[in-house]
């Protein structure tokens, strides 16, 4: 509106109305007030009568002391308590948003970095060639050196192929089948979907495990192009299966887990699935 003057005028400023004479209002008031002067007049009049109330001051200070000593002053700021200038409120809010985005980025970046690190261990795999590797006569730990090596080379670096993923889930499935809520997790739902029904999982898994054990390298190579469409979902399922089943697994521990297992390529599959099964068991114990 037009009353900028009341906001911008300096209180107490006096001036003679420039039009006072020209208007020929000799009979009117001799002195004219502008808004600032009127405000100053009011302010002075109202505050002139103010007497310091020592008793009230003492009460207020006592209340302050009591609140301070009781720790009440650490209470959280509500929206109505925030009287910072608007720009600064906005800045604080956008800083908060930026910070959380940054933290989320760090977390995701860390996961990605750990995943890259886990596949980037050619020395370890060559070392491990000398070691005895589990063979077909050890059905509990059927993953073999060649399977892991060729799978890692042919599939996406750092991620198990869909076939390996399925094997890992199948092995875990064997251990937790029919028990507890671990069966409700997303990973299991995927496995059931892959198998084509809850009752077919056992048969499906048996087939997968047998295939992986008998012709491990070939199986991994064949399944990778065939399952391209599912590849991503399969991988993300593998990422989640650990944390889902464990219920307490963080992405950090997940990443470090795959990092360690990655340094031992021949065992990577086995230890990965072992972790998955343990996690599933842990989750079940919690439940």
């Amino acid at each position: 509106m037009g009353e900028q003057q009341s906001g911008g005028g300096s209180p107490g400023r006096r001036r003679v109305h420039p039009d006072g004479v020209g208007h020929g209002r000799a009979s009117g008031p001799a002195v004219v007030l502008d808004d600032a002067e009127l405000e100053a007049l009011l302010y002075a009049a109202v505050l002139r009568g103010h007497a310091v109330d020592a008793e009230g001051e003492q009460r207020a200070v006592a209340a302050f002391r009591a609140a301070r000593d009781a720790g009440v002053h650490r209470a959280r700021t509500r929206r109505r308590d925030d009287w910072r200038p608007r720009e600064r409120q906005r800045l604080a809010r956008s800083m908060k948003t930026a910070l959380s985005v940054f933290v989320a980025g760090l977390t995701l970046g860390g996961v990605a970095y750990a995943a890259i690190g886990s596949s980037d261990t050619p020395d370890a795999s060559s070392e491990d060639k000398g070691r005895p590797t589990p063979t077909a006569d050890a059905p509990d730990r059927p993953a073999t050196g060649p399977s892991a090596g060729s799978g890692g080379a042919s599939g996406k670096p750092g991620h198990p192929t869909t076939a390996q993923d399925t094997e890992a889930k199948c092995r875990a499935f064997d251990q937790v089948a029919g028990r507890g809520q671990a069966m409700d997790s997303t990973a299991w739902e995927r496995l059931v979907a892959e198998a084509g029904g809850a009752d077919k999982v056992a048969a499906y898994c048996a087939e997968q495990l047998a295939a992986a054990t008998n012709e491990p390298g070939k199986k991994a190579d064949e399944s990778a192009p065939a399952d391209n469409g599912q590849d991503r979902s399969g991988n993300s399922g593998a990422d989640r299966s650990g944390s889902d089943a464990a219920g307490s697994g963080t992405s950090g521990s997940d990443a470090s887990g795959s990092g360690t297992s990655g340094s031992d390529t021949s065992g990577s599959d086995t230890s990965g699935s072992g972790n998955g099964a343990e996690n599933a068991e842990n989750a079940e114990k919690k439940n």
Partner: protein
């Protein structure tokens, strides 16, 4: 807007860290305006309401965020809530026109600015303000006596700054007339007349 806002902001910050002396400084800087505002709202009960308000201010001080000017707005909001509670309890409304005529007789219609300034007592000034419609009275009190800018006064009142500016402007014009002095706005076209 207010001369002591820097000092007040520093005192508030120190009081929030537990400095009792700073709280006393804070109290002395804010209480006069707060009490003037409350006297305009609840009359003679203002001291009691102010006391209640200060208990809440002392308790919630840690929650406050802002500078000296912000603290005036925050404390005025608390005081206003206590005043409205009080009015609801007492079913008392701010006295209005009963004394208006007496007050208007006191500063003569032709008194000069200086005479008006000298003769206008605290009680007369407050009665004049109380004679205004409620929204105008509150706007004038918050802006002139408490020392808030339009956006802050609007936040205290839960209104838009434009509405508070208008109310404050109309209230001041009305007061000027009642005081028997001519405000610049009486001359209309020169500055602010378009809002008539």
């Amino acid at each position: 807007m207010h001369a002591h806002d820097g000092e007040l902001g520093a005192a508030v910050a120190r009081a929030q860290e537990g400095d009792e002396a700073a709280f006393t400084i804070m109290y002395r800087l804010v209480q006069p305006g707060l009490l003037g505002y409350l006297r305009g709202l609840v009359g003679d009960d203002a001291e009691d309401v102010a006391s209640d308000a200060w208990l809440e201010i002392a308790r919630d001080l840690g929650r406050f965020k802002g500078d000296g000017a912000g603290f005036r707005g925050w404390s005025a909001t608390i005081a206003r809530h206590r005043a409205l509670d009080h009015l609801r309890r007492q079913k008392v409304r701010p006295r209005s026109s009963a004394l208006e005529q007496d007050v208007l007789d006191l500063p003569g219609p032709h008194s000069t600015h200086d005479q008006a300034l000298e003769s206008l007592s605290t009680e007369q000034a407050l009665e004049l303000v109380r004679g205004l419609p409620r929204d105008q009275a509150e706007a004038v009190l918050l802006r002139v006596i408490v020392g808030l800018d339009a956006p802050s006064a609007a936040r205290v009142l839960g209104k838009r700054p434009g509405a508070v500016r208008t109310a404050s402007y109309r209230g001041l014009r009305r007061l000027a007339k009642q005081l028997g002095v001519a405000g610049v706005t009486d001359d209309g076209p020169r500055t602010l007349g378009e809002s008539k």
